[in-house]
Subunit: 732 residues, 2 copies
């Protein structure tokens, strides 16, 4: 853990008298240029008009500041949320227009909070051990601090000294005290919620010139630096910028990080917060954006809600502040263009100017194959994203071998997800939650998040003996991470990544290697997935593929349970899966084709005596209809050492307008395992127009090791962990 | 049935010598102005470039004309389809460019067909009693005649007399003879396939100056006018332009109708085909377009494939020809703009010019509430579409009380479908078919079309005693149509339509009345659905709602069959429904809320001692995964006389970006039946902000009849079939 070197020697600044205001969200000089910018840039002026339209109806009105009562989605929850947004907006409008009615609106609301807050206790709907006061959970109270802190800063000069004191003591202090005393164990922690709390208290500290608050925000309640903003920045992000909870929460964490960093930088430029940890904030934003689909949605792994996109306020704010902090980045401009709105800030104005003056902004972010380490020191596994194709036809394969990822992590070691042409093809279920929909348990995470979505069987990875990784014990899972064995994403035509997980199940080694091969004969890449499960004893290995689309064809027979369906199992998520169909033994090369958004996809797999297949559907035991009724194709093998070889390909398409169906059949014809043992796995994939031979070294994955083996009398020699031979021979 | 008055007296024209060419798709003078238009109008020039790009790679190449072998989706099927498209395009390009390479390409292909066709017999994959020769079904051969007929006309002047004869005798005559002799019973019929066959033979007749073909095309093989083009125009369309098979097939029928009419009009303007039957072609196009969703897809009832839209070639052609025939229609221009392409024709050029010169073209077609009669004389029931709201927030309720609609009709008497905000909300399943996808039974209609999708239980209407209307006997169903009792779509705030069906089940009268009420307190209309089932004996009445979306909430308890599911029944489509949950008795006002595309929808229903509810899901007994696993909410009542009262409403929305959920609860609080007997039904609907009282006369639906009844001591007096009182009283 690194600590900002400048932090101790500038403490005396914090004890200064009342500083310049505004300073948190924007400075005086920024406001002056912003006022000019509004008339210059269309996107800035439309943001201004929207903000005015949202605030003006409240001018001169009494705004309700109700006694907290309801859970998320209920009236008091939504009202307090609307209130802090209104205060933020009105505060900013006061700065931009000088119209005191805006300031007065904020002042009046603040005085109501100053009257309300001191008497509050734990929210009546609180269900977690981090209860809020205005809201059911402390996190929302932290949101409130962030936005109202900015609002206070904006109307600072409008307030009398006594108003300021009333608000600081009545509205802010009870919240800050609650966080730093009652909820000290929640505040002093490394977590996105702590980041929000730090940002809230830090912003209020800067807004109210309270150096104690600022110090606590930066270094935790004990001021040792073990917790607080710097420690969270150090530990939540890997050196590559990967956020430990995954992209859905990265989006959420980036907002307080950027808002507070901006305030800190305005107030204390000497901290150089944007340069901190080799510009970790810049890396974190870039990393989060690389983990999005073409439609802007963040990849759905861990407890993600899939409709969260980079169109959210969080990413608009972060991107706009990043523009101010890091300068123009042409590769990110497509995101700004798609967002088609900017914040009323210096960064927002710069983006508005970039959009107005930059020609030929690409349609999409510059997506590329990337690998991110996980962990504060980058030693806790990571995520690789193999990509192929351009713009609308981009194929993205996500391979996750990261750490557990805290309480919202899933038991999904060595999971893969596939996106293609802007659509999810092999999905991660994400979280089971209807956020802020009151009827769905007050908008909280629903129980099926833990009982189904986080379980291993809910993922595109192997579940052993009907159990989940680490028996679904989060603490156990947090102790270990998978190990990346080798990878190469530099070569566009052959990309590979390999990782192993040996702790998730006692006595079972799991080793998955993914090859993304782009052959000139095919417009889409072939994904070769070699997944080895090894043990001294017999186990049941289940490998699901949560495909999205319509089943078109299989080349094997199965029994469909047409009159009566039962569940696939009784525990560990299996109880949520209907067993729709079963193929008890599937030999040879098994093939399964489905159609999704008018593209055909096939999974061709190595069958065998110990191989069976299932078609399953989510929804059993889901009496509240919380789960989507989506399908899975599950390949089961039983044995000691079993190797799953799956070739996943997109091929052809169906055009409903012309009714033309092209290339509706997979290009794979046969998959043969030529050798498979502890040392080597050698396989041959016969395609319609080529033969692919892959030899990989399972034990020694050194990049320079020489290998020499003999397959059916033919020698194969290579160096490094693998070799791939492609014969452009037409087979028949 | 009317017959074109001019048709007999101009017969001598048909015996004329070789006429002007081209004349079928376009005339010489049109070609001259088209050539200029291509450089003038962007949409015309892009169509030209696209066509050139599609054809140029074939110039100077040998094009395969294979021996017919495969079903739809297979190679020979797709090749012959691609061939006629190529011939059409190349023929037109020859006219537009004068480049003889295009003509030569068409000629060479024609000569191959002239060699192939005489030896053909019934296609090896034929499964119907109208087999094709080049294709598995005759219909596709008719398509071939239409396009190649146009191609022949385009290169007429390029061909030598002997070429012409070779092609006429070798390529065309075997097909024409097959249709008019072998398949005479299929050709002499009133049906969309006959329309295609007539158009094919008629176009070939005009292209080859064969008056026999033209006569047969117009008046059937016996030349009596009982069959053929005129008879089909007379009988397939109602006086309002409603096409008997519904909108999906209307789209398909409009193409041959418009192409042949255009050719006829070019050749024989004195026929005045576009004025025929009070401009029936114009009405038919308008009627078809009114039956589309905002995304351009045709409403899904009868055997429809839902991805068929007005972006298809069929509607582009019809709309473009209609522009030439009927002049500029500003209400249709939005469709042309959305299509963003035009045909290379006179009409296409006119549309291109309209698009270039018309300002402020609306985003959507001028959708409005409409009613269409069905039947040649307009006496076979019909379809009413009640609409409310504008552009993107349009609500469309479709009430179908039409005739059976031939072989692709469904047993769906008194069915409703609901579209809102451009999405399907209460769906018709449509057809079970993966068109042209070879793996899915050669792209044919799948068996589940008949066994599930056409059955009554697959619709949002009452199924009695677990059976379908007319016991799913098509001939019986064709004999009767429901009767519209009254309607009023003129008043935008209160729209109503009522119809009865008394033949579908022995001894059971069905009577459905739909009110669409737009109250000032609500942004979306309330739909009040009063569905009466009357009998002297006890029956089981099932009323499904095939909702699309996520179940959010019910106000009643149910048992979810979480560990084991069985089917809802064994016959008549019930065998395809999983019984997910059951509520054996639901009293009072039952409410069910679901979320679709971020809008909440609720169905509030009158419960009672005899009322039970089911949640079902399509997919049981569907071993080939042909069906979509979509849900239904089914209300069941048992008794002699039962009245279903359902209030369907869209309310509120969820914004995933801001996470704000607004108005997540229905506005309906209680539904009370104040009186319900043979004579009158009176009901009271208590809303959050108003009370609605509806009194309807069930027996005497005369528009001037005076009614005077007494409810709880309070008199209600009105005239006409119904009265609606709205009290703007806040209830609590």
């Amino acid at each position: 853990m690194r600590v900002a070197p400048a932090i101790f020697c500038i403490l005396f600044f914090l004890n200064d008298a009342i500083g310049q205001h505004p300073v948190v969200y924007c400075t005086n000089s920024e406001i002056i240029s912003l006022k000019q910018g509004i008339s210059l840039y269309p996107s800035l002026s439309s943001s201004f008009r929207e903000m005015k339209a949202a605030v003006d109806p409240f001018i001169g009105k009494e705004v309700d500041v109700p006694l907290p009562k309801d859970a998320a989605g209920g009236y008091t929850h939504d009202k307090h949320k609307a209130n802090y947004t209104l205060m933020f907006n009105a505060g900013l409008l006061y700065q931009l227009t000088g119209n005191k009615e805006y300031a007065e609106l904020v002042r009046k609301m603040f005085l109501k909070y100053a009257a309300l807050n001191p008497a509050l206790t734990k929210h009546p709907q609180a269900t977690t051990n981090s209860p809020g006061r205005l809201f059911w959970q402390a996190l929302n109270d932290a949101n409130w601090l962030v936005y109202t802190g900015i609002a206070f800063d904006c109307i600072h000069h409008y307030l009398s000294v006594s108003d300021r004191q009333k608000i600081a003591e009545g509205a802010f202090k009870p919240e800050v005290d609650f966080f730093t005393k009652d909820l000290r164990n929640w505040f002093d922690i490394i977590h996105n919620q702590a980041l929000w709390a730090c940002a809230g208290i830090g912003i209020v500290g800067i807004a109210t010139d309270n150096s104690d608050y600022i110090n606590i925000a930066l270094k935790g309640t004990s001021l040792t630096g073990k917790y607080g903003f710097w420690a969270n920045l150090d530990q939540l992000f890997s050196p590559d910028g990967y956020y430990v909870e995954g992209p859905y929460y990265a989006r959420y964490a980036l907002l307080p990080v950027y808002l507070f960093a901006n305030a800190l930088n305005n107030k204390f430029p000497q901290y150089k917060v944007f340069a901190y940890r080799d510009s970790i904030l810049q890396k974190a934003l870039s990393c989060a954006l690389q983990q999005t689909n073409l439609d802007g949605s963040f990849y759905g792994y861990n407890d993600a809600l899939k409709d969260k996109t980079f169109f959210t306020n969080e990413i608009v704010e972060a991107l706009n502040i990043s523009r101010k902090a890091y300068g123009k980045d042409i590769t990110l401009l497509p995101v700004a263009k798609l967002q088609s709105r900017v914040t009323l800030s210096k960064g927002g104005m710069l983006i508005a100017s970039d959009l107005a003056t930059t020609k030929n902004i690409p349609a999409h972010l510059a997506y590329r194959s990337v690998e991110y380490t996980d962990g504060a020191s980058g030693d806790k596994g990571g995520v690789s994203i193999l990509r192929s194709g351009r713009t609308d036809s981009l194929t993205s394969l996500i391979f996750k071998y990261a750490s557990h990822g805290m309480g919202h992590g899933h038991f999904d070691r060595l999971n893969i997800n596939l996106y293609d042409n802007g659509h999810e093809i092999l999905q991660d279920y994400g979280a089971v939650r209807f956020i802020n929909i009151e009827q769905k348990w007050g908008g909280r995470y629903l129980p099926e998040t833990k009982t189904f979505a986080q379980q291993t069987i809910a993922h595109n990875t192997i579940a052993v003996d009907g159990a989940s990784d680490f028996n679904a014990n989060e603490n156990a899972s947090e102790q270990y991470t998978p190990v990346k064995l080798f990878s190469n994403i530099k070569e566009p035509y052959i990309q590979v990544v390999s990782a192993a997980e040996n702790r998730a199940y006692n006595g079972v080694g799991l080793h998955r290697t993914l090859y993304m091969l782009s052959l000139k004969e095919y417009s889409k890449p072939l994904i070769v997935d070699v997944f080895k499960a090894n043990s001294n004893t017999v186990h049941q290995y289940d490998l699901p593929f949560y495909y999205l689309g319509n089943l078109i064809n299989t080349n094997f027979r199965y029994t469909y349970f047409g009159n009566g369906q039962t569940t696939l199992g009784a525990h560990n998520g299996y109880q949520y899966l209907w067993k729709e169909a079963e193929a008890p033994v599937v030999k040879g090369t098994m093939q399964f084709t489905f159609l999704q958004h008018n593209t055909y996809y096939s999974i061709s797999s190595l069958g065998g005596d110990s191989t069976s297949a299932y078609f399953a559907r989510i929804g059993a035991n889901d009496s509240s209809f919380n789960l989507r009724r989506e399908p899975a194709y599950i390949i089961r093998k039983k044995g000691n050492n079993e190797t799953f070889v799956n070739v996943i390909e997109a091929h052809g398409n169906f055009n409903p307008t012309t009714e033309i169906s092209a290339n509706a059949y997979p290009s794979v014809k046969h998959i043969l395992l030529l050798r498979d043992d502890e040392q080597y796995t050698v396989l041959k994939i016969e395609l319609k127009q080529a033969i692919i031979r892959i030899a990989q070294s399972n034990r020694d994955t050194g990049t320079k090791t020489q290998h020499s083996i003999n397959i059916n009398g033919e020698p194969i020699n290579w160096s490094g962990p693998y070799t791939i031979q492609i014969f452009n021979q037409t087979t028949d």
